[in-house]
């Protein structure tokens, strides 16, 4: 069984959106004999590549959801998780990264390290995923893998060295020189399926030796064996493979491979590298939290004989019901086994177990630790941990960012309202950053997410997958309220006219706080009986949901309860809750509350000739330009811009730069909204409330 584990790889392909990732995946499937015909990504021949199987993705030429597929290469079983490249869908990437053991970082040989590459690289580092780099598109004009390798070192801060040098570049790109074997490789046949080994062309000898030297230098930094062998001039192929593998797995080294997926060159050598350098599941340490022992960390063992621990990382609605993608970390599962969902505390029986290809599946009997499989008909949410009964573990929860934008939606007709509910239910289960709630005042359905495009994609999916036409409102920014000063309260809630009375008095203060919310009890001498302290806390918390300025949630507040009073008969849970609410109302306005707005970190990459326009456009949007880094003819401009000003920016940026610039943005912080805009929002809020009253 151990042999099986060592011949298993779970990898992802992470990349910038246009670096040719889908084409590369397509070629990998082809060479591993998973598909029998090569399709091209949108625009080339209309079919659409196999991996971005959703219609919407086909239309846009991008991959949004992560499909997994299993291939075999050199008797190794490789699960490939296709990860999306766009920053708006990072939750998808992050969830995929959670289950990967290694990754191929694809870079464009012309564009090199771009802003999204940095985002993706950061994610790989956050989840400690070992990676090999693949410099794609060597056939393109301006291709320069040497420069890209330098950028991987400088911009990504990785220690990287080339494992290959190209034979020719751009339209003269023919093959690759392998710096470990010191041989040249060419890719013959109509689809490059025949790999031919030759001697290194004499004109490339010097270059090859020069870069081999650089490789040996880099490797010797973490391999004593290689260092010694260099001195004695007896470096062997096996020795180098071993050292590179060790360096890659410990993330001290990033091997750089190259080729052109589109021209069918270099992909097989990349697959060899995946097998040679990326870890098998037993070489990666995974930790679960034992929920029965105060979340004590437990190291999982990729041993199929132990009880099962697995992680549901993706859900998908297929024509045959819900499909749950799981990664098994420990033990094994088989059809008919009983398993336990530690979040919902439900037991269930394993029905069909399948192994996924991009759009078709293969039934299997079961799966073992290290593997990725999919289950049918399991009711769970993504991020759930599924164990053998008797275990109560949770895989460390993945980082879920708070949504920053919301949109009111409505089904265009009554008939589709049901389908809309179904769609929303599905999406919220699939994507923790996508949220839905009903606004109690307007009774509108509000969806929330990480950016304009993020929500756009879901609105389109509603149309396509659920045939729901929705009418959308204007995107709304998720504002917050926060106090800026300390304010005291002393409030008595009293209702003692007939029947059971109510009495509660609370004294204390509220003040700004670094975290979300804190409640401190300093009441002495039993002035408020202990059982009513949580009631006070509850009363205050109820008030945080809606601030008095514009009805937004309140953050960064500490309540300190110092004293109070009770009545032996009339005090109750509800009385103290009411007292706390009254106290809050009393103190809030005095504590100089202000409105906070989400500020995004925006990175624009543009040809330098347009940087003036970009500076201007960011400035107009109340943006702070933090820096501009010029490197050759490109500028990378970093700015902090309020989210509310960024709607429609992609269109404006495109038209301003002839489509040559691109930008990414992510949530950075909440910051004070300027007074004039705050006034305006408060006025709108007042009018809304008045309109509500009139109704």
């Amino acid at each position: 069984m151990n042999g099986t584990l060592q011949r298993m790889r779970n990898i992802g392909i992470s990349a910038h959106i246009d670096s040719g990732k889908t084409t590369l995946t397509e070629r990998i499937l082809y060479y591993c004999k998973k598909i029998h015909r090569i399709h091209e990504v949108k625009g080339k021949e209309g079919g659409g590549a196999t991996m971005d199987y959703m219609e919407l993705e086909r239309e846009r030429g991008i991959t949004i959801t992560s499909a997994t597929t299993n291939v075999t290469w050199n008797e190794h079983s490789i699960n490939i998780i296709d990860t999306p490249g766009h920053v708006d869908f990072t939750i998808e990437v992050e969830r995929s990264l959670r289950v990967l053991d290694g990754a191929i970082l694809v870079l464009c040989s012309v564009g090199g390290v771009q802003s999204q590459t940095l985002t993706v690289d950061k994610q790989l580092k956050r989840y400690n995923v070992p990676a090999i780099a693949f410099v794609n598109k060597l056939d393109r004009i301006g291709a320069n893998p040497f420069k890209v390798k330098d950028q991987i070192n400088d911009k990504l801060g990785r220690r990287a060295a080339l494992l290959q040098v190209p034979v020719g570049l751009e339209d003269k790109f023919q093959g690759l020189v392998d710096l470990i074997r010191m041989k040249a490789y060419y890719f013959d046949g109509p689809n490059g399926e025949l790999v031919r080994e030759e001697e290194i062309p004499p004109e490339l000898e010097d270059l090859a030796w020069q870069y081999r030297e650089e490789l040996l230098d880099a490797v010797s930094l973490f391999s004593d064996e290689v260092t010694e062998a260099i001195l004695e001039d007896r470096v062997t192929e096996e020795m180098l493979l071993r050292a590179i593998r060790k360096g890659t797995i410990s993330r001290e080294f990033t091997p750089v491979l190259m080729g052109s997926a589109y021209r069918n060159k270099g992909v097989q050598l990349l697959l060899d590298a995946v097998v040679n350098y990326l870890p098998d599941p037993s070489e990666v340490e995974n930790i679960a939290l034992d929920l029965d022992r105060e979340e004590k960390p437990v190291i999982l063992k990729a041993d199929p004989t132990l009880p099962c621990v697995s992680y549901a990382f993706k859900l998908e609605e297929g024509p045959y019901g819900q499909l749950t993608y799981i990664r098994i970390y420990q033990g094994s599962l088989r059809k008919g086994d009983e398993l336990y969902n530690t979040r919902s505390k439900q037991k269930f029986k394993v029905g069909r177990v399948v192994r996924m290809h991009a759009d078709h599946m293969e039934d299997i009997e079961g799966a073992v630790a290290g593997d990725i499989a999919a289950l049918f008909g399991v009711d769970c949410a993504s991020g759930d941990t599924i164990c053998s009964p008797g275990l109560n573990y949770a895989m460390t929860s993945i980082y879920v960012p708070e949504p920053v934008i919301s949109l009111a939606i409505e089904a265009s007709d009554k008939l589709s309202a049901d389908r809309l509910a179904k769609a929303l239910n599905r999406f919220t289960k699939e994507d923790p950053t996508f949220r839905v709630y009903i606004d109690p005042e307007s009774k509108q359905t509000i969806i929330q997410g990480m950016g304009e495009l993020h929500l756009d994609v879901y609105v389109e999916r509603m149309k396509r997958e659920y045939r729901v036409e929705v009418v959308t409102g204007r995107p709304q920014v998720a504002y917050r309220e926060a106090i800026t000063a300390r304010a005291d309260f002393d409030y008595t809630h009293k209702k003692q006219t007939g029947g059971a009375g109510q009495f509660g008095r609370v004294i204390g203060y509220i003040e700004p706080f670094d975290g979300q919310y804190e409640f401190v009890n300093e009441v002495k001498g039993g002035h408020i009986p202990r059982e009513f302290i949580p009631s006070c806390d509850k009363g205050f918390q109820a008030m945080l949901k809606k601030g008095q300025l514009i009805g937004s949630p309140i953050i960064g507040l500490r309540v300190v309860l110092t004293d109070g009073q009770f009545h032996p008969v009339d005090s109750s849970d509800i009385a103290f809750q009411m007292a706390a609410q009254g106290a809050f109302k009393q103190a809030y306005k005095k504590a100089r509350p202000q409105i906070l707005e989400p500020i995004m970190k925006v990175v624009v990459e543009t040809p330098s000739e347009f940087s003036g326009n970009v500076f201007g456009s960011l400035n107009q949007r109340r943006g702070i330009i933090v820096s501009s880094i010029e490197d050759g003819s490109y500028s990378r401009i970093e700015a902090e811009v309020p989210l509310s000003e960024m709607f429609g920016y992609s269109t404006i940026l495109r038209s301003m730069t002839q489509g040559k610039a691109e930008f990414t943005m992510e949530f950075l912080k909440y910051s004070r909204l300027p007074a004039s805009l705050a006034e305006q929002l408060m006025e709108e809020h007042r009018q809304k409330l008045e309109a509500g009253d009139r109704k």
Binding site: S611, G612, G616, N619, V626, S627, S628, I629, E630, E638
Partner: protein, 234 residues
């Protein structure tokens, strides 16, 4: 208001008072010393002095990474704030950040023309009303008379003040008998102010060696505290 007080007490104002022609729009100044003596600290304190008065600054860097430059500002801001017992520190900090843009030119041999173009883009279409430009890491050891003339013209045309750092290297002596760094002698026509930094018994003293048309070494009543890297009056 807080900032006005802070700024009035600033050693930078002492420095400016010591200059015969003062310092302002159209002028180019240089801090020169060997590496690691404190040029960048001086430049950043000039920038902070302007930023405390809500005057925007462009910081041009030829070498350092942006986060490294930002950490210089953060560090010196924190120390100044604590030395001057600054109230509403966060608010001042926010305004400092808002009024500062870092332009970083990574490539070796970036043309001055291109650097000025980027500055122009920021000042013009970018609507960033900087009056002070800090230039760190400019290589005076490459022939640059023409570049400095371009900077000078730009400074005059756009009414900007420029402060450079000049990293001195090579064998001693680095200075002539008037205290002028040899490397700067060819560029005197473009440079209005030259200040050198020298180690003196564990302290870093500032010498004014070119003050507009006057060339003579004059010890300024300023030093750089080697611990905090803050400029202080003596």
């Amino acid at each position: 208001m807080v900032k006005k007080i802070l700024s009035a007490r600033s050693p930078i104002k002492t420095l400016e008072k010591n200059l015969r022609g003062g310092f302002g729009p159209g002028h180019l100044g240089v801090f020169a010393s060997r590496k690691g003596v404190g040029k960048t600290a001086c430049l950043v304190q000039i920038a902070l002095d302007r930023l405390f008065e809500d005057k925007p600054v462009i910081h041009v860097s030829y070498a350092s990474r942006v986060d490294y430059i930002i950490s210089w500002y953060e560090e010196l801001f924190r120390k100044l704030a604590s030395r001057e017992n600054l109230k509403s520190e966060m608010e001042v900090h926010d305004r400092v950040v808002r009024n500062r843009v870092i332009l970083n030119f990574r490539q070796e041999g970036m043309k001055t023309e291109q650097v000025l173009k980027s500055m122009e883009a920021l000042l013009g279409p970018g609507n960033f009303a900087a009056r002070t430009i800090i230039v760190d890491g400019f290589n005076f050891y490459l022939p640059c008379a023409e570049d400095l003339a371009q900077f000078k013209k730009f400074a005059v045309d756009r009414q900007l003040e420029f402060w450079f750092s000049c990293s001195l290297k090579g064998e001693d002596p680095l200075f002539d008998d008037q205290g002028l760094p040899f490397v700067l002698k060819d560029y005197l026509s473009s440079l209005d102010i030259i200040i050198t930094l020298e180690h003196d018994n564990g302290r870093v003293r500032l010498n004014l060696v070119k003050d507009h048309d006057q060339i003579s070494s004059k010890k300024l009543r300023l030093e750089l505290d080697p611990q905090t890297l803050l400029l202080t009056r003596i």
